[in-house]
């Protein structure tokens, strides 16, 4: 990668980063207090996307033929923790929101 290519590469990523900041602020700017807890829990689940990063690091380790226990352990822990974040996060959010469903059913 030449210096010029690097600059364009970096700024592509920074552009995405900057736009995502604004979307993040905008998308939840009008939330009733009632939904603060489920919303926090859902954003918590979404950063579980770190699991995708864990999957890619597993590939990086295997493609470089690194098989020492240190690498295996780090990869395994990363995937496990990432999965706990995703699965636990969505499941607990779903549970919180079930309670809203009940309430709606009663209203109707």
């Amino acid at each position: 990668m030449t210096g010029l290519e690097f600059v364009s590469y970096l700024f592509d990523l920074l552009l995405v980063f900057a736009l995502a900041i604004f979307v993040g602020f905008e998308v939840i700017s009008k939330v009733p207090t009632t939904l603060h807890t489920p919303l926090m829990s859902a954003t918590n689940a979404i950063h579980g996307v770190v699991l995708v990063g864990a999957i890619f690091i597993v590939a990086a380790i295997f493609n470089a033929s690194l098989s020492s226990p240190l690498f295996i352990a780090l990869a395994l822990v990363a995937v496990t923790l990432g999965t706990i974040n995703v699965v636990g996060g969505f499941a607990v959010t779903e549970r919180m929101l079930q309670m809203f469903k009940k309430k709606d059913a009663v209203k109707k």
Binding site: M1, I21, I46, V58
Partner: protein, 475 residues
């Protein structure tokens, strides 16, 4: 490029795009009660697509690690999410958040050792970017990991929920933080051929810093801290995206970082406590502040019986229920609704006053009362209900403490001075259901209990409310 590789690439980027769109739509839908459940599922579907496409993209290299990790993680995640009591939810969120932070730190650590053991041929600029981002994501991820665990231990009451402070604390914290920073700068400056001791030292300092930074925070500030740590993990994930050249991580992590920051500020605002106070002004702990409450245990409290309270309630025109953490702990929400039903049968108007930080998290009370099918239109926000207290015969406080403490209004030396509270003391009568005279989560006395209008009904909230239901029924 073979057709197969092309297909892989196209599918991967399409899944990334779909996941980003589904995450954003999901968050949007989560902002309204009617669509919240759909929102959560959108986000979950997006996640599933992203994970499946990623596994295919790498041709399932090291598939057994991925398989074992996902299997173990799913069992642990599902089991704890489904088993946890609704009262313990906040600490569960803290724990899942810590897992995410830990994953980010593990990824960066693995990346560091991959770069050290089998350096790929990278241009100097790209190498620098990789080192900068891996170091930053490792530090933030580690802080979030250890900080979340301390937050969990505090909320679970496996350690004291009070602020832990000692002399020179901020200096120690600054020193540890600074050493992590110096090592990080050293690693970035070398960007390759880094002694692993530097990295491990930096990681250790970050982990210790996470512990130290949450220790002095306690009391009602805990939800704010969890929200803050949540956005930290988001940022760590975003920076991991820079490290791995993965736009999905950048976008999703940033979304969470930004929305988490906004949510944190909303909570801070609800408590009238700027974030700097939350982080550096240990709640009700630092020496001089205690003086305000050091007047000794309250002397003039009046204890009452279930029957007396039942009469008071049944013949009131309007009752406002003020739920707090005590109701959550006792799982009394169903009994509370039953009591409200009984009272309404007798023509009493019942309303619920929800303080923004009642319980351990904003919205905590709403979730519990929704579970008990309390009609949505009976729940009132602080600003809407406060004028009502003056027209109310009985304010029934069920396990809430700090959010009703008038010291926040009129004792400038009180640690919670300035926090908006529910004006329960404006009601004609105040009934406080409480386990004991122990002070609230913030660890300060509540002058409300000495108010001549106030009577105390001691005992487990559920037992007391069940008693009230029965007593009102037979009246």
């Amino acid at each position: 490029m073979t057709a197969y590789a092309l297909a892989q690439t196209i599918v991967f980027y399409t899944a990334t795009l779909a996941a980003v769109v589904l995450f954003i739509l999901g968050l949007r839908y989560l902002s309204s009660p009617a669509t919240a459940r759909v929102g959560n599922r959108y986000a979950a579907v997006g996640m599933l697509l992203a994970i499946a496409a990623s596994i295919w993209r790498i041709d399932a290299a090291g598939w057994w690690i991925i398989l074992i990790g996902i299997a173990v993680g799913t069992v642990i995640g599902l089991f704890s999410a489904l088993k946890v009591k609704m009262t313990a939810m906040p600490q569960m969120v803290a724990l899942f958040n810590g897992a995410g932070g830990g994953a980010a730190a593990c990824i960066s650590t693995a990346e560091f050792f991959v770069l050290a053991t089998a350096p790929p041929s990278l241009s100097p600029q790209l190498r620098l970017l990789t080192y900068v981002s891996l170091v930053v994501s490792a530090i933030i991820g580690a802080v979030s990991f250890s900080g979340s665990i301390i937050a969990f231990l505090k909320l679970q009451e496996w350690m004291t929920g009070r602020p832990v402070t000692y002399k020179g604390q901020q200096a120690v914290n600054a020193l540890i933080g600074l050493s992590a920073l110096v090592l990080a700068l050293g690693i970035m400056a070398r960007s390759g051929d880094v002694p692993w001791v530097w990295y491990v030292g930096m990681l250790a300092a970050a982990l210790i810093f996470g512990v130290l930074f949450v220790l002095p925070i306690g009391g009602a500030d805990m939800p704010v801290v969890i929200s803050l740590l949540n956005s930290f993990t988001g940022v760590a994930v975003a920076i991991t995206g820079f490290e791995l050249d993965n736009q999905l991580l950048i976008v999703s992590g940033t979304l969470v970082g930004a929305s988490g920051t906004l949510l944190t500020m909303m909570m801070g605002k609800a408590m009238n406590r700027p974030l700097t106070n939350v982080l550096f002004g240990a709640f009700g702990a630092s020496g001089g502040m205690e003086v305000a409450s050091a007047s000794g245990a309250p002397q003039n409290i009046r204890s009452t019986s279930v029957d007396d309270v039942a009469v008071m309630l049944a013949y009131a025109h309007q009752v406002i229920v003020v739920p707090g953490y005590g109701m959550a702990v006792a799982q009394a929400q169903h009994s509370v609704r039953e009591l409200a039903d009984q009272l309404e049968k007798k023509g009493v108007s019942v309303k619920y006053a929800i303080h923004p930080v009642a319980g351990r998290m904003p919205g905590h009370m709403n979730v519990l009362l929704a579970e008990a099918n309390v009609p949505y239109n009976q729940l009132y926000d602080m600003d809407d209900i406060n004028p009502e207290f003056g027209r109310t015969d009985v304010a029934l406080i069920i396990g809430a403490n700090d959010v009703t403490n008038p010291a926040a209004r009129n004792v400038p030396s009180s640690p919670i001075y300035g926090m908006p509270i529910l004006d329960v003391d404006k009601a004609a009568n105040v009934v406080v259901l409480k386990r004991s005279m122990r002070s609230g989560f913030a660890g300060i006395d509540n002058p409300l209990y000495e108010d001549p209008k106030t009577v105390m009904l001691f005992g487990d909230a559920k037992a007391s409310v069940d008693g009230l239901v029965h007593a009102v029924k037979v009246l």
